[in-house]
């Protein structure tokens, strides 16, 4: 497996792998740095615009610095009906940042997201790839305290 200077694996140069490579780069650096996108474009033989376009299209890719734990509280209607606002307020109180912000210690990024397919366990949220349902303020406190 050949490596580019920033360590992007380029086992395949087909655009097919762009999303996988972007995710890989993001998990390595925490977010998608501009120069990295340009390197990726070059190694795949596609335009910077094509790479930047994809990097900014998808909600799970970020060109801004992200915390180690990305909290995504569902804001869609089934969760809203189960008082997701209380969940949003609780997270805000626990970690001291508002939706859209990243904590200065780099521990948390707090986002609101659209339906995560856990409506039977509403209100629900994700932290990185894990889903937490049937949330209460007390449960949130415990979940967030367990984050590293």
């Amino acid at each position: 497996m050949s490596k580019t200077p920033r360590g992007i694996s380029t086992q395949s140069k087909k655009q097919e792998n762009l999303l996988v490579l972007l995710k890989e780069a993001q998990s390595r650096h925490g977010y998608l740095v501009q120069e990295l996108l340009a390197e990726l474009a070059q190694s795949l033989g596609i335009s910077n615009g094509e790479v930047y376009g994809a990097a900014t299209f998808y909600a799970f890719l970020s060109t801004e610095i992200q915390g180690r734990n990305v909290i995504r509280v569902c804001k869609s209607l089934p969760c809203f009906l189960k008082n997701s606002q209380l969940i949003i307020d609780s997270v805000e109180q626990e970690i001291g940042i508002k939706p859209g912000q990243t904590s200065t210690d780099g521990k948390f990024t707090f986002q609101l997201t659209n339906c995560i397919g856990a409506c039977d366990k509403a209100p629900a949220m994700m932290i990185n790839s894990n889903v937490y349902g049937d949330l209460t303020p007390r449960r949130i406190s415990a979940i967030l305290k367990a984050c590293e």
Binding site: L19, K23, G53, Y58, L77, C115, G117, C119, A122
Partner: protein
Amino acid sequence: MPENRIVLRNCEIINPGRISTYLARDGFQALSKARNMKQDQVIEEIKASGLRGRGGAGFPCGLKWELAKNAPGNEKYVICNADEGEVGTFKDRYILENDPFTLIEAIAIAGYAIGTRQSYIYLRAEYHYLLESLMKAIDQARKRGFLDGFDIDIREGAGAYVCGEESALMDSIEGKRGEVRYRPPFPPTEGLWGKPTIINNVETLMNIPQIVLNGAEWFSQMGTERSKGTKVFSVSGDVKKPGVYELVLGSQLKELVEDLAMAEKVKMIQIGGATGRIIPYSMIETPLSFETILGAGAITVYNESRDTIDIIYRTLEFLAEESCGKCSPCREGTEALVEIMGRFSRGEGETRDIIVLEQLSQAMMLSSLCGLGQAAPTPVMDSLQYFRDAYENRVREKQGGVPV
């Protein structure tokens, strides 16, 4: 009409981590039966069953397969759409969690029928936690020799509602922004990388093994004239028992919402998620079928305490955020709908806004490129039809009048 578990027949019965428990339930017998049939015979059986797509559009499954099989070329693809992003839908998650094997068998049957050895499961990013168990299930099937050189690769999304739309989904697999394509050409003739491709929803595929095993006639006895078989519904919102329910098509909404999910004091029901229909409680006896109302089976229930305007506003906010932006009727139209609904939500709406909502809705339905933009005005139009008072009362309140 009763609950009937065909799609969910193995859920919470087999161990999704052990293929032996699936084999004990006739697992992979449909695949072996199919491989002893001619490709055309398999397709004929699916066509005769009347199975239609369960992702919302309801396209006849067998016809889709036939088009792809008859399309020229050796390079073809099967895609399983597991990008379940419609608001209020979680049935495919439940299926993937509980019975990955039936899905694998169905994909292999589809591959045989259209004549390809390559298939993909497009899994939404939010379901990344299901990836490992899904890969293990594929691995077990492969080790047991059931796949026989047939490849099932998983491609993960990265967070985009519109990628559940088939052409955006294909662009996403190709490593691009998930923007919809102009059609025709349709995927069965020119799909992934321009090659003939069939894209089926998880639930659609889950029906295939049982149809192959029991025959088209068995399947087509269930349901209504143009809606055969069962449908899996995801019920959420103001209900005591949210969850996944499988009913014979044509069953009454009332049975699902009140008898099974135990909703009380229902004001309205959103059927099919953000782009779905909104109907008042007075229509609770509506049968659920392609002829009437269905969508992908998301059922969100709202009780009498809910504010219709607020619900529509939030629905439109979601659609504006998720519009891919390729065509202007959808990109600009959803934003404009949000702006106007916002005015009503804040009590600033005027009578002329109602007219603009209706005109804009018509234009978007006629001119948007894909289902998102075409159906985005549905909640607006439905609420104007059934809950017009809610809008008119806001206007009256603004003018200092008394709501009626």
